[in-house]
Amino acid sequence: MDTGSRSQGLPGLCAAYLLAALALLYLSYRLPRLLPGDFLTALYSGAEASLPPELKEAYRNQAEALITRGFVGYLNDFFTLDWGRSLAFRKPVRELIFTALPWTLLLLGSAHLLSTLVGFFAGVESAWRKGSLPDRLGVSLMTILEGIPEIGSGVLLLLVFSLSLGWFPAAGAETVYSDFTGWQRFLDVLHHLALPLGTLFLAYLPGNFLLSRAGMLYAINAPYMLTAKAKGNSPLRQRYLHAARNALLPVVTRFGVRLASLLTRALTVEALYSYPGLGSLLCNAIALRDLPLISGIVLVTSLAVLSITLILEFAYQKLDPRLRA
């Protein structure tokens, strides 16, 4: 990620990212069009009712217009922010994406951030107490958790906390059509967030924990730690200012790399808890072969991942003085 970009400098880096963005634009245009089946088949094939010929013609024309509009037209639409209308929802794609995006950001952002923070600090503390009972327990527990997919932990949490105990709601991001305002609404959103967030937290935590712990173990034994100790630094300072800072680098790398797979991983959880985020929207769009909506979501998420990776390039250079050359 870094070696090539350093040698090319900022213009090279920007050019590489621009090229990647263009490739993503093309993929978001091309891939949904390769899906077998079309909107009409998805909507009407198993229906109790059949489509009148006039409507069939109108839908077909609409679909043909979409397909015959080439990549240049697609690019033009993208840059003029005209992302088309969803065939199924009959609303502008942009509006649909921006309605669903905040929920996905809330769920994924909080899960990712929380698991990284908790995983990092727990990993550092565990490594510092290497061989102790909490460390051994922590490693065992995290290794087990690492092997449980989201669908497994999600169903388990749902069964225990929603089905058996009835503590948390099983679906949605908030109580639909409630009269809640202000704090009550905030708590309602948190109440609905608890289980999907818990599921994703359990899925992301072990990786962060194990990575931080491994990095920390390597850092603790480095010669500079002896110097830090000799200088009379407190154990907390030794841990966090000297050792953990070095253990942080792989965690930050992971943070960025994992972002790319976040959306696809959240699909399961969003579907399980009927969470109205981008994952659910994409699932619906694919099932209905809603080409403009699929393209829109794929494009927005992939460009977002690309932007975050670019930001991380700079963050990495800040964190690691060796890369500032």
Binding site: L35, G46, L55, R90, D188, L190, L272, N284
Partner: protein, 537 residues
Amino acid sequence: MTNTVHRFLCLLTGLLMLLCTVFETSSPVLAASGRIKELRIADSRGDWGPPTPYQHYPRGPGYLRAAWIFDTLIWKDHNGLVPALAESWSFDPSAMRYIFKLNPRARWHDGRPVTSSDVAFTIEYFKKHPSSWCKPQWISAAQTPDERTVIITLAEPYAPFLETIAGVMPILPRHIWERVSDPQNFMAPEAFIGSGPYMFKDFDRTRGSYLYEAFDGYYQGRPLADRLIYLRAGASLPALLSKEADLADIQPDMAAAAKQRGLVVIKNEHGWNKKLMLNHTREPLNSKIFRQALAYALDQEEIIAKAHRGFGLPASYGLLSVDHDLYNPAIPSYPHDTQKARQLIESLGYERDEEGFYAKNGQPLHLELLASAVSLGGQNASDRDGEVVKKQFEEAGIRIKLVAMEQTAADSLIKNWQFDLAVSGHGGLTGDPAGLNEYILPEEGADNVNSARFGANAELTTLLREQIREMDPEKRKQMIFAVQELYAEELPAISLYYPEFTAAYAPEKGVAWFYTKGGVSGRGIPLPQNKMALIPR
């Protein structure tokens, strides 16, 4: 550090407990007046399109979401057809016309009276702008001798008129729709004004939720619940138990757990079948003998036991449900018999190779079987039908390549006849037998991937076309009996089993939800959301 962790855990537990207590009592059951304040219905998909007659998705759940707002001339309850906007009706066979008397108390949600001119206008409007659910092409004229009387004359005899037109066609307010030339894109607030028990308030596409409010001026009395809400919930039983939903479909094997937790569980009749689609346009499936051999090779009971944990009932080979009043029990049947299947295959010139699989003239008998998560009554459900069917066919010596794919991809192949065998399914088997035409005839099932689109047996085709024109119930019954017999002999598709449809609801709200015999509306929708459950008696 241990203290910090301890404090953090205490804080987290405290917050969770606070959340739980705050929301434990947040859903009041009844309003101060003793009326039901709110009813919540959950399903796994949520979005079924805007609830107008032209914009809901063409599936049962979409139609029902619009049906709360738009009433029809007649409707169905437990026992069959009941008055709706028409308080009475009669048929004059000599003039081939129906006379409907409208309920004088019927009002639109904007307060105007519902009159016969609205009904006549609706018929003309649907003729001009057919919707996926309503094509009143059988009607030649609608007269309105007075404000309350509509006389509908049929262009030619049409036996299922009451069930599939009068009981399905939503009546539109003339004063609104007469100005609308593009109903597919009519989304103004007036588009949601109907004469049904509930008024439209909101529809959220991304959240998959709908909100309705009781219509005070409803001609059959104010409906029982003040607000009606649809929400999306993938896990239906937890949604019911955590009181987020009051009614939802559940898996049949959850019925015991639901009952144990105080929910009322209801079961539907067998109006929906899983079936094996056969590409009868290509060899060897174009041979009736071969199709019969497949039926012998199949073991319906084993599919139910292995793929559905025993929840289901073997289907009739005559397509119409065993629960239908016109079901013919004396039709050809194919009890599982691998030996018989082999004999029939061998009678077509096939010989077994050293591995026990059939081949003819050096060409192995090799078929592809498409399997997908077929949506069941509008909800996606995956199963292992494909695997069990493959095993059974291979035991009879037919090599099967099982191809599992997503439903729309499979539908697309079936629609274009690019398949050999496919597991598919549909409902409507307890409704009016007019539905048989859509699932058998090539011209009527052109868009429907669940239709056999079979025209090779002229007698069957003629009978189907004529049964809908036969106004004498006894004569029609004989024709439907003959149709089932011919269908079971030809086997253009093989019905496998009827899955169990189960729903659960919370009894404390005081609403007794029910499954409608023959399904809701004339299209046989196998869902328990019949609006009659909320009409005061």
